[in-house]
Symmetry: C2
Subunit: 190 residues, 2 copies
């Protein structure tokens, strides 16, 4: 099938070209858009925290920031709600095939994840092993268990295989993590 400009578009699912695919973040943003537009769930990305140092006024209501720095996020990237429940997660990619390095997640974010979990929120990590083309959902309680029992600075791929939930590659939504949450809510009858 050709587009008017002669460009060919391949509608087949990307299976063999895992390394050339979209970033996990873009795919999650598209999935969230799909969930929002279909009225399934309302989940969005939080703004990146920025510390403003210098500003100047261009006009009464027009301010330009002249000096600022990115701050380390103290919360996770995504949150929102699904069937009235609080959803909160962080998404990370790794090029490593055997480990997920924990340096990817800041101390304050881990603290946030513990807090969400303690307060009854649905909280998890989405981790993509880019070179294996595998995307896992790992529940916060399994992450916390691991952190409490291990002093390692990384989580083995096997831990994701045994404790995580593999998220299937789909066309739309690309990262269907709500499907996993549905199973969880069913099991726990919530």
């Amino acid at each position: 099938m050709n587009y008017p400009n002669g460009m060919k578009k391949n509608f087949q699912r990307q299976v063999d070209y895992s390394n050339r695919g979209m970033s996990l973040e873009s795919e999650i943003n598209l999935s969230n858009e799909y969930y929002r537009d279909s009225g399934i769930a309302y989940i969005y990305k939080k703004p990146t925290p920025i510390r403003v140092v210098k500003m100047s006024y261009l006009a009464k209501d027009k301010v330009v920031i002249k000096e600022a720095f990115f701050e380390r996020p103290s919360t996770t990237d995504y949150n929102g709600l699904y069937r009235g429940k609080y959803i909160d997660f962080e998404a990370k990619e790794t090029n490593n095939k055997r480990f997920f390095p924990l340096a990817n997640i800041h101390k304050h974010q881990l603290e946030h994840i513990r807090n969400i979990n303690n307060n009854g929120g649905i909280c998890f990590l989405i981790v993509r092993f880019v070179k294996l083309n595998e995307t896992y959902l790992l529940w916060a309680r399994d992450l916390i268990d691991y952190l409490d029992q291990n002093k390692n600075c990384s989580i083995k791929h096997e831990y994701f295989e045994s404790k995580g939930c593999l998220i299937a590659n789909k066309y739309c939504p690309r990262v269907d993590y709500i499907e996993i949450i549905d199973k969880y809510l069913e099991v726990f009858n919530r």
Copy 2:
């Protein structure tokens, strides 16, 4: 009672000095800190969205933002969770005694409030009439009802009196909106 530096601190409740009190935002931040520290609820302020135009690299991991602008927020200022439920609200002060001007809330924020409400989240406005020293919680559904039935660009103080819930002035937490949510959850048996 004197502080080491000789400063006197008045621990009495501010009643007559309403105009000289803390800003609503500071009081809500303190209340949220209290809720978090006491393990009652986990509610925090979202970062202000900023659009970065120019950056320069000081070192490998050190980036300084040289030009950026504040963006209009597309979501509300506060969210979090209480007893596993999703909580979302916006807080505004007005010096007007008779009206709350709706220009205080952007179009995208109203859209966000509707979405949260439709998805089963607990969503509301906290509005302080500074000169009356009155702080109201107005449920999203009452705000939406008003917007759907009125073309006014402000909400009368009487509407807050009849539909809103007056939040009592307290010492700690200063703005105890969780008390109002508790009554709501009780009534609806959730």
